[in-house]
Amino acid sequence: MPVTKILIANRGEIACRVIRTCREMGIPTVAVYSEADRGALHVRMADEAYFIGPAAARESYLVVEKIIDVCKRSGADAVHPGYGFLSENAGAARAFAAEGITFIGPRPESIESMGSKTAARVVAIAAGCPVVPGIQETMADEALLAASLKIGFPVMLKAAMGGGGKGMRLVHKPEEFTSSLARARGEALSSFGDDSVYVEKAIVQPRHIEIQIFGDTHGNHVYLHERECSVQRRHQKVIEEAPSPHVTPEMRKAMGEAALKVAKAVDYVGAGTVEFLADIDRNFYFLELNTRLQVEHPVTEWITGLDLVKWQIQVARGEKLPMTQEEIPLNGWAIECRVYAEDPDKNFMPSPGRITYLRTPSGRNVRDDGGVYEGAEVPMFYDPMISKLSTWGPTRIEAVERMRAALGEYRIGGIRHNIAFHEALMEHEPFRTGALHTGMLDEPFWKKKGQGPDLKFAVAAALLHELETEHRRAAQPAVNGDGKPDAWKQWGRFNRL
């Protein structure tokens, strides 16, 4: 399959990330952009750029026909979907194939078989990969209750078509079952148009640990170790790291091999991630297989030294995986913070707008994957990611200290962002010691900092700003009795400036 010019059917940091690797490989890139994105960084960085419609993604980035049309106009023979948008859309993958365009991702059948959590669970069980004890079928209310009693409370109710935490309910005891189920079904229906729900054993203080896998078209599969993503807020990942402080070498090998069983079962090609829940005793349970490059892939790149996008392209070209399992490195520790345009002081309300100032951290062992620049708009139409800041250290605590120092260098003007929240996390004792679990941010540890020792300096800067504003105002046009500026007075003032 030739890959000589790549259209990136995405925007923001991931589009820029893919362009960087294409530049290194000498592959020309084609950007697509909506009305909101003419001035976006990915358009500036790509070699070609085509307009594909209104700001709303469903009218632009999600329209397969428009992407195919740009492929034809530009001569792009491959599409990199990034994450989100069309990346896990089997129909899109088929449509590209029908036009002779290489989709840089797994086969449509793999995407489909992993599209429903219950179907994925069946595959995992058949492949011999451990799953959370529970009933893999969706059932009627009474049958679910009976199953829950059999599994033993606490149990977790989950929407079959769900994702992102929607349609999920933890049920502590039988008495709560009926009302929780009703709410889970309601959320599932409104979020996914399908009220099917299934039940699983609830893991108390679970850890989210995932295995990066890769497959090629020659039947080879390897795992690139694990990432831990237990630091979540409302079931959304906030901080990721690799390796996991919870995982021993034995557990790593066991998880990696379990993940590869699922990968082989669906003849997986390209980059994928097998997500597991792990409990305190290091039991682990298959959750799902994400059939795309993950947001948090940089931490894996740090510890392995590999370029996952390069591997994706090589595999899409039909090349063999460049390494065997034994050759995959594992060096040191990496942490990633997702920098969002949101206000941690106002319940993480999104904060789109113009970035009036931007200085990103640099120096030793720090990586910033950004999608913006000084003067750029963060549009209200897409996700609020500004950048992914990641750091590496020989040990976990060195990576954490590097991150803390790097966050201190980050300066973003014009919009609200969560840098201070990440700084507080870097000093949060459970985080520092690696005692992570997915509910660790539910108890609000974050409180706006009061008066620190440097308040004087902050106020001094504001006072200078007030003084200069007052001077500027004094030099503004004076107004006559009739409300019109007095031109001569104005001119005099103008001259004095």
Binding site: P350, M380, L464
Partner: protein
């Protein structure tokens, strides 16, 4: 130049003097000689008592036009505070501000996806009045006023900018 520094419910007087090329900050009644330069727009390097601190300053929107709100990013973290001109504060006190207290404004650009109240409804402080969507997230906007919904300024589906008037709630007469 004198200002009142306001952080939450606390306040203190501060003074900033530029005279004969010397800049002085008066803080807690103590004068500090200060070397301050705006090296980039909005970025200040400040030397005071041997310390060197870099301040990134963002003037912020404030609901009260007589109070200037600021956000500052420093290496040691972020600060938020307001500065009030003591002369204007006096004027404000006699004039009677606070009329805008019951006005719910949009904290971000976004789209109104659901109105949860109608004109005439009685609402409690903390109650959600409408749901807005921005950046693929739905956000519940709550009122800080207990009272009656007087005006709804927007319709469902409307796209609004930061600071747009959404709903006015009137508190009962004391």
């Amino acid at each position: 130049m004198k200002r009142t520094l306001v952080i939450g419910k606390e306040s203190q007087d501060v003074e900033f003097i530029r005279q004969d090329g010397v800049t002085t900050l008066v803080w807690d009644g103590v004068s500090h000689s200060i070397d301050i330069m705006e090296l980039e727009p909005g970025c200040f390097s400040i030397l005071m008592d041997g310390r060197s601190v870099e301040v990134r300053l963002d003037p912020a929107k404030s609901p009260d036009p007589e109070s200037h709100a600021y956000r500052a990013m420093l290496y040691d973290g972020s600060y938020e505070f307001a500065l009030v001109d003591p002369r204007r504060a006096l004027l404000g006190a006699s004039g009677g501000a606070g009329a805008s207290g019951g006005l719910l404004m949009s904290p971000m650009p976004g789209k109104v996806v659901k109105l949860l109240v109608a004109v005439g409804d009685v609402v409690q402080e903390g109650q959600t009045l409408l749901v807005m969507e921005a950046m693929k997230m739905q956000n519940e906007l709550k009122t800080h006023t207990t009272g009656t919904v007087k005006t709804i300024h927007v319709g469902e589906g409307a796209t609004v900018e930061t600071g747009a008037s959404l709903i006015t709630v009137v508190a009962p007469e004391a």
